[in-house]
């Protein structure tokens, strides 16, 4: 069942700008993960944040998690053309993940 829902569905930004996307979910989780998918390819894991963490950084990525609101955000700073992709949040419980429908990000040169 689809647990996470990303918002917005699509985002278009200029190179160098920041991109922010949000994920809301419904039930309790052990962790929340973000993945990237380039057009027609498989998903690539970006970052995992545990339910007892509030913020995590990895390079130009910043993820926040608010378990009281059942929401997370992914911020990509100083975007590049190569960041053009679909981004999915996935909520983790034992062994399995539930994925949202994704946010499509287009970075214009």
């Amino acid at each position: 069942s689809q647990q996470g829902e990303e918002d917005p569905q699509a985002l278009s930004i200029q190179e160098g700008e920041n991109a922010t996307m949000n994920c809301s979910y419904k039930t309790s989780i052990n962790n929340l993960q973000w993945y990237r998918q380039n057009s027609g390819r498989g998903l690539v894991h970006l970052i995992l944040i545990r339910s007892n963490e509030r913020e995590k950084h990895s390079g130009r990525l910043r993820v926040t998690l608010d378990t009281s609101k059942k929401s997370s955000s992914l911020l990509i700073t100083a975007s590049r053309a190569a960041d053009t992709a679909s981004y999915f949040c996935a909520t983790g419980r034992i062994n399995k993940l539930s994925f949202g429908a994704g946010t499509t990000v287009t970075v214009r040169a």
């Binding site: 052990n30 993960q33 998903l43 995992l48 062994n95």
Partner: protein, 116 residues
């Protein structure tokens, strides 16, 4: 580097044909997954395997079966392909994670299946 490979990138089959999609991982992962991805619907889990010969239905198992005879290989079988099974099929693997703490998945490149 971790690697998940899928037998075909593109596949065209006819209605009623039996279709095999194969997935191989080289990371000694216990868990393997088959998803299908359709526009606007995200990834939906078809089947999950947590050990050799063990399987568990996902959200949309109807019309599909799976086989895991060896730890590194997980096959998805469409017994009688239908046009509504035209989709992108993604295989993934992960470590066993009963604590639900470190269960990131590693994906193959996907197989785009068209059923005519």
């Amino acid at each position: 580097d971790v690697k998940v490979t899928q037998s075909s990138r593109y596949l065209v089959k006819r209605t009623g044909e039996k279709v095999f999609l194969e997935c191989v991982q080289d990371m000694d992962h216990e868990n393997m997954f088959w998803y299908r991805q359709d526009p606007g619907l995200g990834l939906r889990l078809i089947y999950f395997s947590y050990d050799v010969k063990m399987k568990e239905k996902g959200d949309i198992p109807e019309g599909y079966s799976v086989s895991r005879e060896k730890k590194e290989r997980f096959s998805l079988i469409l017994e009688s392909a239908s046009t509504n099974q035209t989709s992108m099929y993604l295989c993934a693997s992960s470590l066993a994670d009963l604590a639900g703490v470190r269960n990131e998945q590693f994906f193959g490149p996907g197989t785009r299946l068209t059923v005519l």
